[in-house]
Each structure stands twice: as C-alpha cells, then as structure tokens.
C-alpha cells in the first residue's frame, strides 16, 4: 500500500530560523500522527509544508490529495453557511452537528461554530489525507466528540491524518515531538 504522505529528510527554514531538519514522516492509509511541541516549534509550518503551501529548504515531500483546516476558515462572512461552504464543494454539516446553521450568515457564527464548519469542510472533502491545525481549539465537548468520531471513520475508511495540537486527540496515539 502506498503512503498518503511521505516527508523525507526535510529541513524547513522560516524567517532565517531553522525550525527542523532531517525530519522523516510517513503516513500510510489508516495512520494518524499528532504533532506536539512548544509554541513556535513549527507545528503549523510542518502542516503547511505537508500541504504544499510552504516549500522545504532540503528534502522531499510527496502527498496524496488532501484537505486542510487551520486557523483561517476561508468562509465569506456575508453568506449563509451552506452557500459559503458551497464554494469549496460542500461539507459534512451533519457529522459536526451544524446542519441547523446552514442558513445562518457566517458573520453571526461563534468561533467554535466556524471551527466546526472548517472541520466539516475537511470531513466532506473526500480527500484521503487530512491536515488539522489545532482542531480541538474553540470546540466544546460535543464538538470534540464529533470530531473524534469523524476522525475514527476517516481512518477506518483508509484515510490518514496529520494533526497539530497541544491537547491529546482520542484515537491518535502516535506522536511526533518538535523541539523549540
């Protein structure tokens, strides 16, 4: 089975500072890794590198089609939620418990509800590789439980997950520690 994400001997430099080097990480179908580390250790940068939004100074990155949820929700404030998500090909509103918000303008949503919307976009994307940056932040207990259920379904269906978080994520045992 071929890997969905392969990071091979990668070094990443941001603003003149070397965040990490000789980093290896391979995600096969069904695998999940939680990236941990202090603030500024390069967790978000690693996710953006995996997404192809940043390029490595050295090394190689290969990736399957992927979906990313980071701190930016990329939703047009003035539109109802369902229409704002339609630009990105729809979303799994049910899975994150926000089906009842589909006609509410994005600007009226709370930060937790917008976080759920961004996660619903990833869950509904059909991409086999998920990249989640601080997915638990701003979520309540119900949101976290729904996210963990969605992740479990995704992994069971042969998907892979790379998440960066300070908090543990149920069902994701493998961790990658980044230094400061």
């Amino acid at each position: 089975m071929s890997a969905l994400l392969r990071i091979d001997q990668v070094a990443l430099r941001r603003g003149g500072r070397l965040l990490f080097e000789e980093l290896d990480l391979t995600l096969a179908p069904g695998e999940a890794v939680l990236v941990r580390g202090p603030n500024g250790s390069g967790k978000s940068s690693l996710l953006r590198l995996a997404a192809g939004l940043l390029s490595a100074e050295r090394g190689r990155v290969e990736r399957a089609p992927l979906a990313l949820a980071d701190e930016h929700d990329a939703l047009d404030r003035e539109l109802p939620l369902a229409r704002a998500l339609a630009l990105w090909g729809g979303a799994a509103l049910d899975a994150l418990g926000i089906e009842h918000l589909r006609d509410v303008p994005v600007r009226l949503l709370s930060s937790g509800q917008r976080k759920r919307a961004a996660l619903a976009r990833v869950a509904g994307s059909g991409a086999r590789l998920w990249l989640l940056d601080e997915p638990i932040n701003a979520l309540d207990g119900d949101g976290a439980a729904r996210l963990e259920a969605a992740i479990a379904d995704h992994l069971a269906a042969g998907g892979a997950l790379l998440a960066a978080s300070h908090q543990p994520l149920a069902g994701v045992a493998r961790t990658l520690e980044l230094g400061a």
Binding site: G52, L53, L66, L68, D70, E71, H72, D73, A74, L87
Partner: protein, 205 residues
C-alpha cells in the same frame, strides 16, 4: 472552480461598494470645472485627459479589497489546495475585478463628459479608449494589490506603485492612440497574472 471563483469575486465586488470608484471618478471630473473655470472650449480640449486622470485615481480605491482579505482569511490557501495555480487565481480575479469596475466607470463617463463639455464624437472616442484601457488598469491593480498584500500602509504604497506604471495607459488613452493603448493594455493583462501569482506565493508564511 475558476468559474465559481469569478462568480464569487464578482458578487463580492458588486455587493460591496462597487459604485465607489465610479462616484470618485465622477467627483474628480466635477472638480475640474471649478478649478479651471467654466470655459467650454478649454474644458473640451483637456476633458479627455481629465477623464483618464480620474479613471487612474478611481482605480486605486478597490485595491485593498482585491487580495488582502482573501490572503488573511485563508481563501488563497484553500484555492491552491483545490488545485488552482496562483496565476489562474489572479487571472480569475482580474476578470471579476474588471467586470465590477469598468462598466460602471464607462457609465459614469457619460455625466462626466457633460460636465467637461466633451461633445458626442469625442465622448465616443474616449469611451472606446477607456474600454480598451480598463482591462490593463484592472490587471495592474490586481498585480499591485498582490504585491502589497499584508504590508503595513499597503494602500499608500499601492498608489505609489500603480500610478507610475499606469502612465503608458494614460498617455496613449488620452492621445486616443487606440492601437498603442491596446498593446499596453494587452501587455499588462498578460503579464499581471504572473506577477500577482508570484507575489501570492511569496507572501505565504
């Protein structure tokens, strides 16, 4: 995806303050008779040039909403993840920007030409030159918006960048040299997506 992006940007352009550049254009044209006096012959002689100066300054107004909000909101990142090259994103945004900017400007040129005592045939020539030149102006605005996105005092910087680069459009447009105007406009329209695309990639952090 490209079509959806053009439709989305056009909707945002029109539901936002699309009338603002056109109103500004009209206002600049209104100031000139006050400044130089109501001599119809003088106004008719300089009127075409005034309309071009007004169009250039009006083109500055929308710059700060062209790229920066989408960069800050992560829209540009998500578009890239959906497989769009940054150059394609920029090209789609130029099309949407021109559609929300130029037609209103051409309409605003009608009352402006009355204020400047421009007669029918001269007005027609100016409208044609504006129609030819505005794609280049919209493309230039997009490139400048992408280059300055995320910088402090971006809008002042954008003005300093755009106005000198728009001088060829102004010269050939005001002189009614339509072929040269078309050549400059084509060059800007063809080159701007690459400039804007590179700037979008370079602004990622």
């Amino acid at each position: 995806m490209i079509g959806a992006l053009i439709a989305r940007d056009l909707r945002r352009g029109l539901t936002g303050a699309a009338w603002l550049p056109a109103a500004f254009f009209l206002l600049v044209a209104t100031l000139v008779p006050f400044a130089v006096g109501p001599d119809a012959r003088l106004l008719a002689r300089i009127g075409g040039g005034i309309l071009w100066v007004a169009a250039l300054t009006a083109a500055l107004l929308p710059i700060e909403r062209l790229v920066e909000p989408d960069r800050a909101d992560g829209v540009l990142d998500q578009l890239a993840l959906h497989g769009l090259a940054e150059e394609s994103i920029a090209a789609a945004k130029i099309v949407a920007h021109w559609l929300s900017f130029a037609p209103l400007l051409l309409v605003a040129a009608l009352p402006a030409s009355a204020l400047l005592a421009i007669n029918g045939t001269a007005l027609l020539r100016t409208e044609i030159a504006l129609a030819i030149g505005t794609p280049g102006l919209a493309a230039l605005a997009m490139a400048v918006a992408a280059v300055t996105a995320g910088l402090p005092r971006a809008s002042a910087l954008a003005g300093l960048l755009l106005l000198p680069l728009a001088i060829p459009l102004l010269i050939f447009g005001a002189a009614n040299a339509l072929l040269l105007e078309a050549a400059v406009s084509l060059l800007l329209t063809a080159g701007a997506p690459f400039v804007a695309g590179a700037a979008i990639r370079a602004s990622r952090t």
